[in-house]
């Protein structure tokens, strides 16, 4: 058992008082940054790089600090999703869909606990996957050429129909809007500016964080303003906290979900260019497809909270596979971690495991330590988190707005970004009034550029032949899942659905949730 010996060595390296202290610090800071809208895992890690250098930390302690921040932020993102309906970072977007309805039903504590457990399960299995499967998994990543990536992204968009809205035209509109927004900026393939109107700030494109914070957080503020004379204040005060720990039966019911989505999220993480957001998205939509027979997803189903959280934390672990084994970052955060490794004179790549075993195994041990620490921190703190709900919205909402502004300004230092964010806030308010789902917009801005680049690469490689998109068994497989699993049922089931929709429309209470 070579691997286990190496792992034991890793723990020997990682377990010192200094390292445990760093892991604790990283977990705490990471959780805070994950929970604050506008600061996600990648910014969180980037912000703390100078700290690691200032403290004069060596390679392993630096990595322990920064990976604790990374995992902490992945845990923290769910808190504001569940309590405020505002995702703390982009992978936590899907947790809003069932987490916020659960909180409104007085199950905020249980939602936080079950998502904490799901996060732990996802990370735990992903770390074992990283240990035992990294070399084999790299081969999976190598099966994906441009055409396969394009098919994968198309599959992600195909699953949208099942996820977010009863009106498919509005889902499609939102996805197209998001993709269109992603096109703004300098074309990565040929370097020509597109839709920038000569504005140099747009050359870089629109940062999806600006879009998320504007669409979710600021529009929430506008909705409260709109309802001030109504009963927003009063009804929010009535929110019951309820019990904090989930009943055993709930955990049991969520266990198969957590295991399945850990696996799926991990796979999504392993593919460079897919990342944690796609991991949580695919986990949610696949799980809904698989187990949501009664249509309870989106109304506060605990499985709808467990699925994306296990998925995105597993993807976070999976994203370390291509970073360590190929030197290719699979997500924004791993790109930052890669930069850290490089500045510590460690070159990730095929030889990292044999050339720098102390770093790799120390890092893996740190992942385990951070994960257990986060579980130990998060479950007892659920009670404190839920106190947020006791704060009346007239105080909470301005704080949310200001935190959003600071989060964006602190990263980019750009007034222009803030103005764009206000624009997204207004737009988000209008779209929510019109019952247009916001999730597809974010998915579009997140994936748009990668989707287009891979389409163009695939077709250029095959000399302009569009048939290349369905030329490999893997691509055909992905397209088949998309069409047979998701597109056809929409068309076939349309007649049935239309009847249901007519009934639901009249009874719908408007914009209390992202989905109806």
């Amino acid at each position: 058992m070579d691997t286990l010996n190496s792992l034991a060595d890793g723990f020997a390296i990682a377990i010192t008082w200094q390292n445990i202290g760093l892991a604790l610090l990283g977990c705490l800071l990471g959780t805070i940054m994950g929970a604050l809208p506008g600061l996600g895992p990648s910014n969180g890690v980037a912000i703390l790089i100078p700290l690691a250098f200032t403290l004069g930390l060596g390679a392993t302690p630096s990595l322990i600090l920064l990976t604790s921040v990374y995992y902490g932020a992945m845990y923290g993102g769910r808190i504001s999703s569940i309590l405020l309906n505002i995702p703390g970072d982009e992978p936590a977007m899907m947790t809003c869909l069932d987490g916020y309805p659960m909180a409104q039903k007085g199950m905020a504590g249980q939602a936080l606990s079950i998502s904490g457990i799901a996060s732990f399960v996802g990370s735990f299995f992903a770390t074992w996957g990283l240990i035992f499967l990294a070399p084999q998994l790299v081969k999976i990543a190598l099966l994906f050429g441009p055409a396969e990536y394009f098919a994968l992204f198309a599959l992600a968009f195909a699953t949208l129909g099942g996820v977010s809205s009863t009106n498919q035209a509005k889902s499609a509109f939102a996805a197209a809007l998001g993709l269109g927004l992603a096109m703004i900026g300098v074309d990565t393939q040929t370097g020509v500016p597109r839709f920038t109107f000569g504005e140099v700030h747009l050359y870089d494109g629109i940062d999806f964080l600006v879009a998320i914070v504007g669409l979710f957080a600021l529009s929430e503020v506008f909705i409260f303003l709109e309802h001030r004379h109504g009963n927003a204040d009063a009804s929010a005060k009535k929110v019951v906290i309820g019990r904090l720990t989930p009943p055993w039966s709930m955990i049991k019911r969520c266990t198969p979900t957590m295991l399945r989505t850990s696996f799926l999220g991990f796979l999504a993480g392993v593919l460079p260019g897919a990342g944690a957001s796609l991991g949580s998205f695919i986990s949610y939509s696949m799980e809904k497809k698989l187990v949501d027979k009664e249509g309870t997803f989106g109304t506060g189903d605990p499985r709808g909270v467990a699925a994306p959280e296990a998925g995105n934390n597993a993807a976070a672990g999976g994203a370390l596979v291509p970073m360590l084994a190929l030197g290719v970052p699979g997500s924004g955060t791993t790109a930052v971690l890669l930069a850290v490794l490089l500045s510590l004179n460690i070159t990730p790549g095929p030889l990292l495991f044999s050339q720098n075993p102390d770093v790799v195994w120390g890092l893996i041990a740190a992942l385990f330590i951070a994960n257990f620490m986060l579980l130990a921190l998060n479950i007892p703190m659920v009670g404190i988190f839920t106190r947020v709900l006791m704060v009346p919205p007239r105080i909470l909402m301005p704080v949310v707005a200001m935190v959003s502004f600071v989060g964006i300004y602190g990263i980019s230092g750009s007034t222009f970004d803030l103005l764009v964010m206000v624009g997204f806030g207004i737009g988000g308010w209008v779209l929510r009034k019109l019952d247009v789902p916001l999730v597809p917009i974010i998915l579009g801005t997140l994936l748009g550029n990668a989707m287009e680049s891979n389409l163009r690469r695939a077709i250029t490689i095959d000399n302009g032949n569009w048939g290349t998109l369905i030329d490999s068994p893997l691509a055909i497989g992905l397209w088949s899942i998309a069409i047979i699993g998701f597109i056809l049922p929409l068309i076939v089931g349309k007649v049935v659905k239309r009847g249901m929709r007519a009934g639901r429309d009249t009874a719908k209470d408007d914009e209390n949730s992202l989905v109806d």
Binding site: G191, G327, L342, S453
Partner: protein
């Protein structure tokens, strides 16, 4: 950007260095900042972080170098920011490379020219490589170029820069030197960085890779890819000595990607000389030599006015090549 010019300017640079006054030695930026005009993980980001860390380790700056990633427009956003908004900021340096010179030469930074900033110095160079998968039937650079010559659609070449960027130009320069008639038919696929391009080479989506030695090094060591040619004037030293140059295979193509820095115009001469002295001192240190070796950077030592002149020459040279090849009119 030939090697001869490098050797000559090395002597000149040393002269320039010793001539710096005492005031330059006293210059100490209050809040040193390095703009990396790309996302974390790329060459510019590496340059900023590595140099920032080394400067601090050696006590050349007193505070941690704040690295700011300002991606977009292949460095154009950062360039415009420095020219328009950060003019006169003495705490700021910006990572640059041959890619910066390429864009300036092709007028890809709208309205900006190279004399709007002050060029500080280099910290090394990365020679270009052309590589194929380890299992490929192609064994020499002429093999590959023959295939391209006979049927340009049969070979896809992947690189980490946009179309018309430096990675693309390198393979075009080689094709041009080999006598491929219309080099624009060479099929180039742009990826987001050299790492992704190599991965797609391993995945079999493309047949060849054009990039820098530092990007390819890890995969050469592991035996995953095979270097057909290094675009250096003579064989490199140390562990790279096994790689044949393009020149010895009869393809007279040289491509060096220097890495260095510029600073805003309108900073005081004291600040300019101070930064130049710091970069020169860094370059001369043994620590930096070790970092260069670990990362496959070849020597290229130019600071101050010599570097300004060198950049001007490179810009002119790339403009000539680009016009000849037909990328710009």
């Amino acid at each position: 950007m030939t090697f001869k010019a490098t050797r000559l300017s090395l002597a000149a640079a040393l002269l320039g260095f010793t001539a710096l006054g005492a005031s330059a030695q006293d210059f100490m930026p209050e809040a040193p900042e390095c703009i990396a005009p790309a996302n974390p993980g790329g060459g510019w980001d590496f340059t900023c972080r590595q140099v920032g860390k080394s400067l601090q380790d050696q006590g050349l700056i007193s505070k941690t170098m704040q690295v700011v990633n300002l991606a977009g427009g292949g460095g154009g956003v950062a360039y415009a920011e420095v020219v328009n908004k950060r003019d006169g900021d003495e705490d700021l340096i910006v990572a640059a490379s041959t890619a910066t010179a390429t864009r300036l030469a092709q007028n890809a930074y709208p309205g900006n020219t190279m004399d709007q900033v002050r060029w500080l110095g280099t910290v090394g160079a990365d020679y270009g490589v052309i590589a194929v998968d380890a299992d490929s039937d192609i064994n020499t650079l002429p093999d590959l170029l023959d295939m391209i010559k006979n049927d340009p659609t049969s070979v896809s070449v992947a690189g980490g820069s946009a179309v018309g960027g430096w990675d693309h130009l390198k393979v075009l320069i080689a094709a041009n030197a080999y006598g491929v008639e219309d080099v624009r038919t060479v099929k180039y696929i742009a990826f987001d960085g050299g790492g992704e391009a190599v991965t797609q080479l391993l995945a079999g989506s493309v047949q060849a890779f054009t990039g820098d030695i530092s990007e390819a090094k890890g995969f050469v060591d592991s035996g995953d890819i095979k270097v057909l040619a290094v675009l250096s004037p003579e064989r490199l030293e140390g562990e790279f000595a096994d790689f044949p140059t393009a020149k010895e295979q009869g393809v007279d193509a040289i491509g060096a990607n220097w890495r260095g820095f510029y600073a805003p115009a309108d900073i005081s001469d004291e600040a300019y000389d101070g930064w130049v002295a710091k970069i020169a001192a860094l370059y001369a240190s043994d620590e930096w030599k070790a970092i260069m070796e670990a990362n496959g950077l070849a020597p290229l030592d130019m600071q101050g006015p010599v570097f300004e002149e060198f950049v001007a020459d490179s810009v002119q040279q790339i403009r000539d090549i680009s016009t000849e090849i037909g990328i710009i009119q």
